[in-house]
Amino acid sequence: MSFKKVEEVKRDRAFKPLDLIIYSAVAVILVAVFLSVFLTKSDKPFSGIEVYSGGELKYTYAFDGGGNISGEGVEEEITDGIVSVRVTCVKGYNVIKIDVAARSVRVEEADCKGKDCVYTPAIVDSDGVIYCSPHGLKIIPLGRGDDGTIIVG
């Protein structure tokens, strides 16, 4: 069954004087394809990640501030500078590993078919994205929010 969450996103646009406040709601049914997308190189600093599950912001991590759980189904554990974040949804779970010193984020474990998200290269800059479509999981650089990217194919 689909579910949704009201999400408020505030964006700062370098070339627009006004802040844009967007209210969005996303209903996820299911998606069958795993993907990660490498976009055109950006000059924005990589300062952390946002983790969405089913369109709902569940967790954020800032390299200079730590993690913040903002939704259900998220467990965080820190050991020797490695942050493990287990995100559980109706369909299963993904375990995200954040190497704080290396500023690198990857999916280490998942119980989805194919586990393509596990084999996706780590996010190491502000261009990286990791998707786990069967679980509706999206990991994007901090501050990006919903930029309208849609994976096709």
């Binding site: 209903a27 996820v28 049914i29 998606v31 394809v33 490498f38 994976i151």
Partner: protein
């Protein structure tokens, strides 16, 4: 159809009425998907397509309106593409393991023989003899009066409307955005058939999966308020002896395509039409595809990636409004 969808809408959801409208739209989306699946899925024994497939050669079968509509879309697509799109490749799909069970052959010795698939292709060639009719509010389709002998079995024509059916569902759900008052959002069905409305800020950024680089994208197109479809040989496939066997079956051989086409995207028209056209283009050689695009798809935006001379190349009829993300990708010669 065994495919899942992703529904997104943007609005001020601090308004409870908008929230309720979205819940209602999501509920109707699920109803549509279940209804279309129940009518068209070749994997559901009670579907109208399954009843058609189970019928004897020459038999007239009653359909529901959905199956009748989609079958006629398929017939139109068959004619438009001169048979390059042909939903009667059912036996080829099953024989190569791309049916509902997805049980791939274990070795090349398990692959069906050319003699066998030639029989399937001969059967598929009779799709043009399918007759659809509507009488007194009831819908019918009559199977071609033709069979082939396969071992001890006598086989009649069978169809798989999954591809066109997916696009048909997307077309229906596309209409829900206006019905429920949402100007912004999209519906993605299996990440390959998509209805786009407006985005909150400019266009959506469509990133098309690179057919040969896992986890990458080869093409980016900013787009809104459009319907589109993508097909590729990377979605479901296996490799034996260096040869790729993908789920897209060439109707002329009833074997997986060997055209060299790797990924095709069609934007414009209805999602159902785009689904059929992308499938058809995948069965053509790159040169044939270019000719078809130039002669019949001038009102559509089309892009494809293909293998030529051992290299991956691309072609598009778009003069601009796209970005190649793989700098190594060369244009088709």
């Amino acid at each position: 159809m065994g495919t899942d969808g992703f529904l997104v809408a943007y609005a001020d959801f601090s308004d409870p009425q908008r929230e309720q409208a979205f819940s209602d739209m999501a509920a109707e989306t699920e109803l549509i998907l279940k209804s279309v699946d129940g009518s068209l899925s070749a994997n559901i024994s009670t579907s109208f397509v399954s009843r058609f497939n189970a019928a004897a050669a020459g038999e007239r079968v009653e359909l529901d309106e959905r199956a009748f509509t989609v079958l006629n879309i398929a017939i139109d697509a068959y004619n438009f593409t001169d048979g390059s799109y042909n939903p009667a490749v059912y036996y080829g799909v099953q024989a190569f393991g791309f049916g509902s069970d997805w049980v791939y052959p274990q070795t090349s010795a398990d692959l069906p023989s050319t003699a066998q698939t030639d029989l399937y292709a001969e059967l598929a060639s009779h799709f043009s003899e399918v007759i659809t009719e509507q009488k007194d509010g009831t819908y019918y389709a009559t199977k071609p009066n033709f069979t082939i002998k396969s071992g001890d079995e006598e086989l009649s024509l069978k169809i798989d409307l999954g591809g066109v059916g997916k696009g048909y569902a997307v077309d229906l759900i596309d209409g829900l955005f206006e019905k429920y008052g949402f100007e912004m959002g999209y519906f993605s069905f299996g990440s390959s058939s998509i209805a786009l409305k407006k985005f909150t800020d400019g266009d959506f950024k469509l990133q098309f999966v690179h057919p040969r680089k896992s986890g990458g994208a080869y093409l980016s197109i900013p787009l809104s308020c459009s319907l589109l479809s993508t097909s590729g040989d990377y979605e479901k496939y296996y490799v034996f002896d260096g040869a790729r066997y993908c789920h897209i079956i060439d109707p002329s051989t009833c074997r997986p395509i060997t055209s060299g086409m790797a990924a095709v995207t069609v934007i414009g028209g209805t999602a159902a039409e785009d689904d059929a056209i992308t499938t058809a283009l995948m069965t053509m050689t790159p040169a044939e595809a270019v000719s078809f695009i130039n002669s019949k798809l001038s009102t559509h935006r089309v892009a494809f990636a293909c293998e030529e001379g051992g290299e991956l190349r691309y072609y598009t009829n778009m003069q601009g409004g796209f970005e190649l993300l793989d700098g190594a990708l060369k244009p088709l010669t």
